[in-house]
Symmetry: C3
Amino acid sequence: MKFPKPYPLKEIASIIKTKYIGDGNLLVYGTNEIHRVKEGEIVFVDHPKYYDKALQSPATIILINKEVECPKGKALLISEDPFRDFNIINTRFRNFQPQKETIAEDIEVGEGTIIQPGVYIGKQVKIGKNCLIFPNVTIHDHTEIGDKVIIQSGTVIGGDAFYYKNRGEYYDRLKSVGNVKIEDDVEIGSNCTIDRGVTGTTIIGEGSKLDNLIQVGHDTVIGKKCLIAAQVGIAGCCNIEDEVTIWGQVGLASSLTIGKQAVILAKSGVSKNLEGGKTYFGSPADEAKKMLRELATLKKLAK
Amino acid sequence: MKFPKPYPLKEIASIIKTKYIGDGNLLVYGTNEIHRVKEGEIVFVDHPKYYDKALQSPATIILINKEVECPKGKALLISEDPFRDFNIINTRFRNFQPQKETIAEDIEVGEGTIIQPGVYIGKQVKIGKNCLIFPNVTIHDHTEIGDKVIIQSGTVIGGDAFYYKNRGEYYDRLKSVGNVKIEDDVEIGSNCTIDRGVTGTTIIGEGSKLDNLIQVGHDTVIGKKCLIAAQVGIAGCCNIEDEVTIWGQVGLASSLTIGKQAVILAKSGVSKNLEGGKTYFGSPADEAKKMLRELATLKKLAK
Amino acid sequence: MKFPKPYPLKEIASIIKTKYIGDGNLLVYGTNEIHRVKEGEIVFVDHPKYYDKALQSPATIILINKEVECPKGKALLISEDPFRDFNIINTRFRNFQPQKETIAEDIEVGEGTIIQPGVYIGKQVKIGKNCLIFPNVTIHDHTEIGDKVIIQSGTVIGGDAFYYKNRGEYYDRLKSVGNVKIEDDVEIGSNCTIDRGVTGTTIIGEGSKLDNLIQVGHDTVIGKKCLIAAQVGIAGCCNIEDEVTIWGQVGLASSLTIGKQAVILAKSGVSKNLEGGKTYFGSPADEAKKMLRELATLKKLAK
């Protein structure tokens, strides 16, 4: 999530009332996820297991719960609770505001785009040209939609991420301030749910087609010209490369990479990265030819 | 379902035009499901297999299709068709009424609660403080929602139960007159469906978090601090104890008990009760370590 | 899809600027799918594998990309791109028109039918008597609904088919101009998606009951008195015969026939036609007794 304008590090530190290591005048441009973060942005880390990954990421500022050595050219925000303080920073710059009207006044809509009745559109949404938004669709704040996009009835674009920290007594919610970007020529079926990024952007790539009742988790990036059948569930932070085909009711665990032109057969459950150009099946999924051999073996043994 | 006031048994008997055995002045407080029924309430039973269970339940009045011996302190309503007569009693005291306005006039909403556009709220709904109800949510009659509850877009709270009796020529609908109770700090994702109890209450316990596109059947009780991932389906009358974690696309058959702190891995299909504190996998699901050993065995044999 | 009135073949040919073989005065009544097409209708075929099937179907006019021998009494429309030209014909006679009002003015609604707030109803929809349409339902153009039908909240009837041709550079959409027919006494749960036929009709047969979050693909025909549990996904062009029972989270591939009174157990994945009167399980699904024997064999081997 990009701040409305860059802020000096010392000002960010004062918002969360914490000390910093590094140049207080360093400009901070926003917050982001560890796998998407860019120069000038803040990333947070609160588990020693991920310290190195965060410190070596492109992030310029690391919000961390230990005074480690500060990498050159970077800065640290030292916090007893980076998760809490990340929420504080994010909601300071982009907080949810209730909306009275069904369609926010500050949206941009391109020529030729049709918005059917019952649609809710949140603040600062951009919709391109010649799109068709069917009835009872919900499009949350900051969503960006390209040209010639079709979104069928009942679909929810930009719902909050399902991301919690177990505090023992309760689950603490990581606040969602990211968004969803839907590229040109994407078509999405009815009653789907495409969650927005926590601080980053969930992306549906150009020309991809989604059927009905599909779940796409926060910060997942779907490539170009993918075909995704009904009731598929893709967890958060996945990378689905271009031209991947996923048949009905497949499930993908979080943070997986599915290689270009991979095909995942119906009802598979994917728990690991999959190389491109191959066909997969089963739960846990493996190469289809292996899985089918195993099923044939079992049939023989049972006789 | 609680009657608006207690009625003497003889009056209930006259509504369904049937005879009764027991004290006609006995006060009847409402109707309920066999696994939730309390003193003073009616339960119905129409299959000899369940006669004993119904007669020995805490129910004071048993609506039954055979003149059996009446347990002491209880009463029987003798009906040729208890299913039909249970429907008649239930709809006599709580019948569906169409509604013209998007938000019923008789609801209670606590301070700080935000209701976004496109939300439908039925009659006698209570919503606590500081809740956030996102656009295009449907909340049916009699739903009770605690404080700090979040319900995301497109979710339906209190839909009718999927409960039918096969009459040979047709399926006969058991009318739903129960409700849904959502306790404090619960968060529910987009496009979920939480059905109401037939006569009882479907409950989502305090602090539980549900992702998108989740189905919760009628009269199911989910405990406190459960975590339920996207596209999980929980059939009716289940007891999910506290701190259970259910990963994506898991399915649970009806009337199951899942013990405290059980973890059910993604895509599992659960067909029997599961002890708490363990991890489960597969369809039909069993302990994960057993299931993984079986999968490894099969891989070895196929080679 | 029936044309508003019959047109002579030569007029249809001039719309798509193509030559025809046969009697130019032959009256054309509409377009249809290969497995439903009737006399007087056009079917399209663009793959040599299906030429014979199309030529031998009851279709009177075959829109085809090769000059084959014309069967007696029939006619051919010779097109370099039948998929494109089928779209042109279909959208010429039934094109999507945006709608400003939540409920179109030209619908028919029978006596005793209740339509709750937030419902969208498209053009030329017919709804019978004593139906109950719950809040936030979407019913698209040309849907036909019988008597005593219940449709619960958030359900979408008549969404567009998920049907694309891979053009190499992009997926080309087959335009949906068909509809959905819901017969008497059908009950459909919350947040379901029932897609309309491409040119034909998706049918839910009399007395069938559907739970929540169910997907029914385009041109699928569900028979009478079927029982379908939550989160089932049925792909396009299936024939589900009468009194079939499908339990939760089952998936069916496209174009399958499921015989009368078949029972498919929860979480099964069906990839082939299933004979009636038997019980099935597994993914890929087979007779339940076989599948359970295989599972038992594996358990034994793993010990």
